[in-house]
């Protein structure tokens, strides 16, 4: 306090300088590694394997072409998109009704239900892939897109419930009640009043389910053999694949994540923050 009282402008300016520097350094900490990956992706395979590295990309698409032509890679990419898409649809279809129920009704068993949902967060869920591998072989779901999507839905659905719970809670029930008095049934009030308001939020949480599935490695590697997803395919070939293939693959993994986080940034805190308490 005393130093600040004797020369306030200097101390404050120094403080602001330290603060701004720290913010910029922390931003660089996140961005610079991503930039390195970008350089490697946009350089020719020779440049990727040479030394020393240039710190500017040469904008050569040879590595990406190599990636696209690598046997099985495009198929893996397609599988990843399909699994993530299915996960997205299933987790919202199953999770959103429960989120609505939690936000609108008080019913016996509600706290037990919430506990079940929260409990899923305290377990390393990808491990479930091990017993499910056996179960899937018995039911014929092994090595299928749908089987893996079921496991990824288990990962994503607790989030879908908690996120939609907090989204629905943000819409006053009075709006629905007003619709009822104006002649809407419970269903039409929902589709005409609540749904349009909630749709952007639902989209955001659907995108999140997509990202969860897109990024998942362990269960994908355990449950698929012929129909590998991109993460499983890259993991399986880590020992043998050349560097430029790894970097191009990593880049393809990162791009959707960047776009999606940007698309859902407004909902990030409603989704991860408050819903998690």
């Amino acid at each position: 306090m005393t130093t600040a009282a004797t020369n306030p402008p200097d101390a404050r300016r120094a403080g602001r300088f330290v603060y701004a520097t720290a913010v910029i350094l922390l931003c660089a900490w996140v961005i610079v590694p991503l930039y390195f990956l970008l350089i490697n992706t946009l350089s020719s395979p020779e440049a990727v394997n040479s030394f020393p590295k240039s710190f500017v990309p040469e904008f050569d698409l040879e590595s990406l072409t190599f990636f696209a032509n690598f046997a099985g890679m495009l198929n893996a990419l397609k599988n990843s998109i399909l699994v993530a898409g299915l996960t997205m649809v299933m987790s919202i279809a199953i999770g959103a009704p429960a989120g609505y129920a939690l936000s609108r009704f008080d019913f016996p068993g509600k706290s037990t239900f919430r506990l079940l949902i929260l409990l899923t967060r305290a377990f390393p869920l990808p491990l479930l892939a091990l017993p499910l591998a056996v179960m899937f072989i018995r039911t014929g779901l092994d090595d299928t897109i749908f089987g893996l999507a079921l496991v990824h839905t288990t990962l994503a659905v607790p989030f879908a419930v908690l996120i939609t719970f907090s989204l629905f809670s943000g819409i006053p029930i009075e709006l629905e009640e007003a619709a009822w008095t104006l002649g809407c049934t419970r269903l039409t009030a929902f589709t005409k009043v609540v749904l349009p308001l909630i749709l952007p939020g639902i989209t955001a949480s659907a995108i999140f389910a997509f990202v969860i599935s897109w990024n998942e490695v362990f269960a994908a590697a355990v449950l698929t053999i012929e129909n590998r997803t991109l993460t499983a395919f890259l993991l399986q070939n880590l020992d043998t694949s050349p560097l430029h293939l790894k970097f191009a693959g990593g880049f393809i993994l990162v791009v959707p994540a960047l776009i999606f986080i940007f698309a859902v940034r407004k909902y990030l805190f409603a989704m991860w923050g408050i819903a998690n308490r």
Binding site: V23, L34, F51, A98, R104, L128, T153, V217, L238, L258
Partner: protein
């Protein structure tokens, strides 16, 4: 349909789904771990734990968590307090800081491989500065410390964002009046942080820590990308037993051990950061 049954109809799909794909698999994994084909046995556990790699992978997993999680907690707290004071550019900074949230552990491992591999950017930088003549092979068994550092950095880079988001949302819920009152009484910024922010942030802190600690015990793809077989971890051993050794029972046994550790730590964190009854904001 009457309003009395409606909530149950709405939660039925999730409940059924989680029973079939969450609770039931746990019964199965336990069954698998405690049997070798004929009745109850601890053979799988004995088998797994007597293997020379088990103590190393357990130690590696725990050390990695112990090195990474406290650092991430401090970093996330620092970033969250910095953001809460920010007036201009808050959205942009938050977007940049939360980018790793969407990046998979495999991709994070590959990104840090670009820095640490032999012809990578760290070597390029060091040779540019004249520190080394030719590129060093950094990630080898001769440099266990460096392998550990690379994996720890990749983990810190990737998974601090999830704690940050939860803490930023938590700080947003603390009423401003507390800080104003503290300022009136002349509390320093540090005092305000330790006496207001930290205690009122306990629910968020415990969620963030639980999520993060469980993720730390699940560490797998980052390690595979950066260390390969140089740095065995529990999850990697599970994968090896399942695929290389085709021993489902042993894989299930390690899975149960990981689960046990995760649950123990979850309970520990919940207990340590519990909020006394009636003391909510």
């Amino acid at each position: 349909m009457s309003a009395r049954y409606l909530p149950y109809v709405l939660i039925l799909p999730v409940t059924l789904f989680l029973c079939l794909f969450f609770l039931y698999p746990f019964v199965l994994v336990a069954q698998q771990a405690f049997s070798t084909g004929n009745g109850f046995t601890l053979d799988n556990f004995r088998n797994v734990m007597s293997h020379w790699k088990f103590p190393i992978s357990l130690k590696n997993t725990l050390y990695l968590a112990a090195a990474v999680v406290p650092f991430q907690l401090a970093l996330a707290l620092l970033m969250a307090t910095m953001v809460s004071k920010m007036k201009r550019g808050r959205d942009l900074v938050l977007y940049i800081w939360t980018i790793p949230l969407g990046i998979s552990d495999l991709a994070a491992g590959i990104i840090w491989l670009a820095i640490f591999e032999q012809s990578g950017f760290l070597n390029s930088m060091m040779s540019g500065l004249g520190l080394i003549d030719k590129p060093l092979n950094l990630l080898t068994y001769q440099n266990p410390g460096l392998v550990f550092l690379a994996i720890a950095l990749a983990e810190i880079w990737r998974a601090t964002a999830i704690m940050l988001v939860i803490l930023v949302a938590g700080i947003g819920l603390i009423p401003k009046e507390y800080y104003e009152a503290a300022e009136v009484f002349g509390a320093s910024p540090w005092k305000r942080f330790t006496r207001i922010t930290l205690p009122l942030l306990r629910p968020s802190l415990s969620t963030a820590l639980i999520l993060r600690v469980i993720l730390a015990f699940e560490v797998f793809a980052v390690v595979q990308a950066l260390g390969g077989t140089l740095f065995p971890v529990l999850m990697g051993e599970t994968y090896n037993y399942q695929f290389e050794l085709l021993n489902g029972g042993a894989a299930a046994a390690i899975a149960l051990i990981i689960l046990g550790i995760s649950i123990a730590f979850t309970l520990l964190i919940l207990r340590a950061l519990r909020v006394p009854k009636g003391a909510t904001i």
